[in-house]
Subunit: 315 residues, 3 copies
């Protein structure tokens, strides 16, 4: 797809290098030569000067910040343009001719479906109804219980156990919105990385990243029916109790504990060794570890005090 | 099954046309000749005069409202009677001899199971472990990711994407209760209709209607681990964020946004362009669009004010 | 595995009967001769004197409470020792050579996977993608909808209906923690027992017991996306509405109703005929049936009063 093709699709104007071929879409920071990127949030303005992208969609007022030789496609609705373009670069469900590789001593049940390009380590048990997508990589001594789905490109470490029905790598929930109130899907290009010694419960969902990776770090334990949004990072040795959730792009430090039905908003950072009580609702980043409760969130001691005061109101 | 058979099963008295054959059960409004209906909620009393049902179960005091020629079966426990009867008219899991029809260019993975009577449009991808029930209809360019289950009679439009593990058309949660505290299942007769351009996340559940349809309208986007109860209507271009839920028979207007873990009670109507913040809990219908928070629900501005006041209590 | 092997694995000291073979791990109360048990919670101290275990891991100060002839393995970190040992006694996924037994008139879809040792009664429908584990026992007239997973040893009664994607018997969420902040899995040895006439919705998860059974008693009805933790007991004729949850070892009396998104902490006992409103959060046992709301929980009438008072704060 040339820059001219992209400009035509998005009804934007191409002023230079229009015949150049573009092979992918990525963030300013991670884009490689030959890829297209975009500026939709001023937070990433600093990445303009260092991008290796060949073309960037951005508002007119920011075009002068681009390095020499990077083509600008000018739009005041950058995010919508990216969404409209993203389908063109979406990865297909199947894109490999290489027969899956299964390591020594691994058992694959006959109704499991392993796509081409996938690699499974040794000593694994891949049970009935499991799906493993194109180019996914599974480590050693992994147990995938029945009906687990692992989407393409996801990477699972060693000694990982994932219980029945859990979904790894489903599309993150990302849309741009038109003035008519329609939602245009931002196709999700990234993956999920699950490090060693992680256990994940049943019917949990972990979305792939829009670009890059959603990451579950070494030793974390994740219960049933939990939602982890796109681009989240769960630190080492975290504990997430059933029915808790992380909105997109939130990072948990190491040894964070999230109680049952607790949740965070997106784009937050939670300090290491933080404990969130059951039902805690986090809307701001937590800089200092401690025990927090309630929605809005407060120190657990304060929450107990508030409940005592509310009890007095009733008297 | 004759009216006499029904009367016998329910231990009610049949006084006329007892040999007439009854072929189905439905609401007063939608019942056709040859079907049985019921009055269990005075809200539907107005439908008695216009029903085409051949027989109606209803309390003695309401029998005089029936049109001439409609047989009355008198009971003061109508809902329990309907539940007890519903199994007799429950649709079987398989009831078609017609081989499924698969459109041009559609890919069906070998471990997918398509029941007889189902129709799949063109350009679809039906992945491993997917189940499509009897007489279900799938449009064009639909992607059903691994282990999605679509129950019988459900209808899915064009350009719909449903992520792994999601269940469409499971039975609504409806029971009548005996005086001994037992729960008698009301077999669910209806279906789910998903219109064009809808995307549904992973491990979400959308129950079929008890009668008629649970409906997700054009362009709505529904995240992971969401519950949509029987007979709900989700309007056009709605957004439902992860772990939110709709109890039965609630209607969302167009462009309603439901934040993460928000929920509504049943039988409500939510105005178009309403935004419900994360964790909002709705117990009354919302007549005017706006931004609402909290449980009990209030305008978001008021909720912020309340939290500020509660903060002061602590000082 | 001898007592000496166990002592070596856990770096504890064996002082007598070190060559004795140990065949399993269990609670003090349920351990049989030849098994190992442990005291990690003083609540169970009373069971020391009656245990039939051959060896018990316990703190030095409690060793004198053991019956004569029971070997003591002394540790001040009992729970961690048990977790480290539990993998050695974990039941394998497959451990039977006996072909599954399928009762008369039962239908098993071709992509269902039934392990050796499983028994299925008569008149059942085991749909596509269902998994039934080793030595599981399914009663008569059971419907398992597509992609249901039933782990090994689970027992399902007669006339049970389980909707698509639900997981029965996944591992309970139990870990011991090292001083370095790592979590050591306590392998779950128990099962789930579902009694007659239970209906379970879609994508719900019911964990197996760590020892013994998680039990759903006769006639209970459980909706979609519900979490039931290890060792819970749901009494007869309970109703659990969608997205509610029970943490481990909580017991519901008969005819308890749990509203949508309500939840309880672990190790509680909820009185029969208790109704928990939607979103109720229970942190203490409920001794007297009634209607309760809120988090922290209070009588529903009080909760309504509190909301009215809070409304006045805003004026």
């Amino acid at each position: 797809m040339t820059i001219a093709d992209i400009a035509k699709l998005l009804q934007l104007e191409c002023t230079s290098l229009c015949e150049r071929n573009i092979t992918g879409i990525n963030t300013l920071k991670d884009a490689k030569e030959g890829e297209i990127s975009f500026l939709s949030d001023s937070k990433y303005e600093k990445d303009l000067s260092i991008t290796s992208a060949s073309v960037v969609i951005l508002p007119a007022a920011k075009a002068h910040l681009l390095p020499d030789g990077v083509v600008a496609l000018i739009s005041e609705e950058t995010y919508l343009m990216v969404a409209k373009l993203s389908e063109s670069f979406a990865k297909p469900i199947q894109s490999s001719d290489i027969q899956p590789i299964i390591g020594t001593g691994s058992i694959v049940y006959p109704t499991a479906h392993i796509e081409n390009g996938a690699k499974i380590g040794s000593g694994c048990t891949i049970m009935s109804g499991v799906y493993i997508g194109t180019d996914a990589v599974i480590g050693d001594n992994v147990i995938l219980y029945p009906n687990v789905s692992v989407y393409r490109d996801c990477v699972i470490g060693n000694n990982v156990m994932i219980h029945a029905g859990t979904v790894i790598g489903s599309d993150g929930f990302g849309y741009a919105h038109t003035k008519m109130g329609e939602h245009i899907k931002l196709y999700q290009n990234g993956n999920v990385i699950i490090e060693d010694d992680v256990e994940i419960g049943a019917n949990t969902t972990i979305d792939c990243a829009v670009f890059g990776s959603t990451t579950i770090k070494k030793g974390s334990k994740i219960d049933n029916l939990i939602q982890i949004g796109h681009n989240c990072v769960v630190g080492e040795h975290c504990i997430m109790v059933s029915q808790s959730g992380l909105a997109g792009s939130t990072t948990l430090g190491r040894n964070v504990v999230m109680g049952g039905q607790s949740a965070t908003a997106g784009h937050l950072s939670i300090a290491p060794f933080t404990t969130l009580a059951a039902r805690a609702g986090v809307t701001k980043s937590i800089i200092k570890g401690g025990v927090y409760s309630g929605f809005p969130l407060m120190e657990h001691k304060l929450w107990l005090k508030l409940q005592a005061k509310l009890g007095k109101i009733l008297q």
